[in-house]
Symmetry: C2
Subunit: 380 residues, 2 copies
């Protein structure tokens, strides 16, 4: 293999695949980046077995020649050093040449770097995915859905299925659901009916979806999502992002969500979040994160927390609307803040069915999102 | 104590003193901030015994009333929670009221915070410093001198005196010197002779000087520096910054610096720093940081490093000038990069007296700064 490539384009491609590089090295060759050079361009591959990412740089675009190929070929280079040194090379033009035993020479300006490369044949093959089951989503919508749900996945590896986000497809509805034992987040969208036929429910790791989110472009381009038995492939322009599908059956969460409420209120989101944030500051010092909400006769709520050592925070918030019994309820303020952060609406609707029952939050004028947190059992 | 104060002004004052708050709590009251309110304004005090900082906010400035005092008094509030909650209060106007047993109520908008305060009489008194021995330096010059020397102090607490920067005053020259067992940095300036009379040599902790540097204003205002037997006081507008003077005698470093050279060269600083940085990336992987410099017949130097596992980096640099024997010398690239970073000059002069002797670096056309690093003994 021998070629020259423009530094900025190589750095961009490295940036895409770097999210899949293993830091834990059970398979030593996966600490490397695979480089494949052909006449049409250069493909970089990185994988940590859960996620594999491939990024293709074409030899030329409309305006310039990016890659000049002298000899096609492949090599695997140690990722950490390769990424750092490429970023710091002195000139735009970078020459990469692979010699005997995968010894690789990188030249740029007056720098010459020799790297011991590894045999590309030892690099694991990426899964082959049949393109029969497909779904198409706008990039920014997918990004938003990930943000609104993935924060609620379980971090406890003892029930691996709950570390993922469920993609539930019923008719033309696609619903994302994430939950741990204390909270649940769901978001639903309508998808193109032709594409959503015959699609099974799948569960994808929350961590993986967050990595995907960093690669997804902000502008509204369409992402093709191909689903196979145990892998899902996201096609993002010149990037292929492969993820493992989590094994197991996702629990039925529908029965957790009450259908009617004992108390309902409409609250200004930002005011509520800021008041809870101040109460959280104090509760955090006691390592409990417990904050109380007390509904009052005058259409206000009092948010409060107290710490035996430090003191007390008390906040008053005027409600837009309240109907039903006046409750006193305690909750984990950190969980509440996480939920409020993704409820992208000036006012939110909160429903209660009792001081020990789930708290349900939705945007004021939308039913496509739901955030649930369980209250704390406290003695007063 | 009872007053109202504008949030932005309180936050600014907190920002100044926060650098002196103890995180290690051998004296519990020092985890607090002391607040003293008088008719003229509010003084905040924080101290970690090495550093004490006092910041004064006047009741009014030319344009606005900042503080309204209802009752003078003092209190000590737990710093971490106080700082966080003040930053997050909903309104500009903050009311602070101290009740019985130093119970403190903070009100802002619809928030009310109760904090258990502590007795201000238990807070240690700041040192009283007689203003007989004084020095005056422009703020930006002091900042530069700190930057150019403090990086070289020892981090090894077994010789505490070397963790400080020596302030050596001889006639109208003030010289900062820092050194550990591998390198030395010095910077000299001419000071106003009247002020520098009768001033003893002092040693101030490098860590303290770095904290001071964060408070020093960028614009060219004059800082009064008052020196007593064991304390030094920096007066920065409305801030008083007290530092302990380190005990002990600073070693005589003058004999470390050669007076003539076997080889001298003039090198472009940025090119040298970037080449060494690339070589450092590789040497770091071997955890040695060793980089080699080889002088060549054609008025160039080769910078290189190698790692048995990863490979080799080789760099060529054209010199502006070289005279004397062609040497091959090895050094700690991290130390060299630290020194190059503060040598604020397009070209630098490097002097050598042999492969095992100190390397001396100076700006090309200035003698007021000197950076020294010791080479490595290597087998080739």
């Amino acid at each position: 293999m021998k070629l020259t490539i423009l530094k900025d384009h190589l750095i961009e491609s490295i940036g895409h695949v770097s999210k899949a590089i293993s830091s834990r090295t059970t398979i030593p060759i996966l600490t490397g980046i695979k480089i494949d050079a052909t006449l049409s361009g250069v493909t970089l591959t990185a994988s940590d077995t859960d996620i594999s990412i491939q990024s293709f740089t074409a030899s030329e675009n409309e305006t310039i020649k990016i890659i000049q190929l002298f000899q096609a070929g492949s090599v695997v280079l140690p990722a950490k050093f390769f990424i750092e040194i490429i970023r710091k090379l002195p000139a735009q033009l970078i020459e990469i040449e692979v010699k005997a035993n995968f010894q690789t020479i990188i030249r740029s300006g007056s720098s010459e770097i020799q790297i011991m490369g590894l045999d590309p044949d030892e690099y694991p093959l990426l899964p082959e995915i049949e393109e029969s089951k497909m779904l198409r989503l706008p990039s920014d919508l997918l990004k938003t859905m990930i943000k609104q749900t993935s924060y609620a996945v379980s971090t406890n590896e003892s029930t691996p299925i709950l570390t993922g986000v469920l993609w539930n497809i019923t008719g033309d509805k696609l619903k994302f659901i994430a939950c741990d034992r204390h909270r649940l987040a769901s978001r639903e969208v309508t998808v193109d009916n032709d594409n959503a036929q015959n699609l099974p429910n799948i569960v994808i790791s929350g961590r993986t979806l967050n990595e995907l989110s960093k690669i997804l472009p902000d502008q509204n381009s369409l992402i093709d999502i191909v689903i196979s038995d145990n892998q899902v492939l996201f096609k993002i322009h010149s990037i292929l992002f492969y993820s493992r599908i989590l094994d197991g059956t996702y629990p039925d969460t529908s029965k957790l969500i009450p259908q009617s409420f004992q108390t309902e209120m409409v609250v200004p989101t930002k005011e509520l979040a800021e008041a809870i944030d101040r109460a959280y500051l104090l509760s955090r010092e006691d390592k409990t994160n417990i904050v109380k909400m007390m509904m009052q006769e005058d259409q206000t709520i009092e948010i409060s927390s107290s710490s035996s050592e430090l003191g007390k925070v008390t906040e008053q918030i005027s409600l837009q609307h309240i109907a039903g019994d006046l409750l006193k309820i305690s909750f984990n303020s950190k969980y509440m803040l996480d939920a409020l952060k993704v409820l992208d609406s000036e006012f939110i609707h909160i429903g209660f069915t009792g001081a020990m029952q789930p708290i349900i939050m939705k945007p004021q004028d939308s039913t496509n999102m739901l955030q649930l947190i369980l209250p704390y059992r406290t003695t007063n």
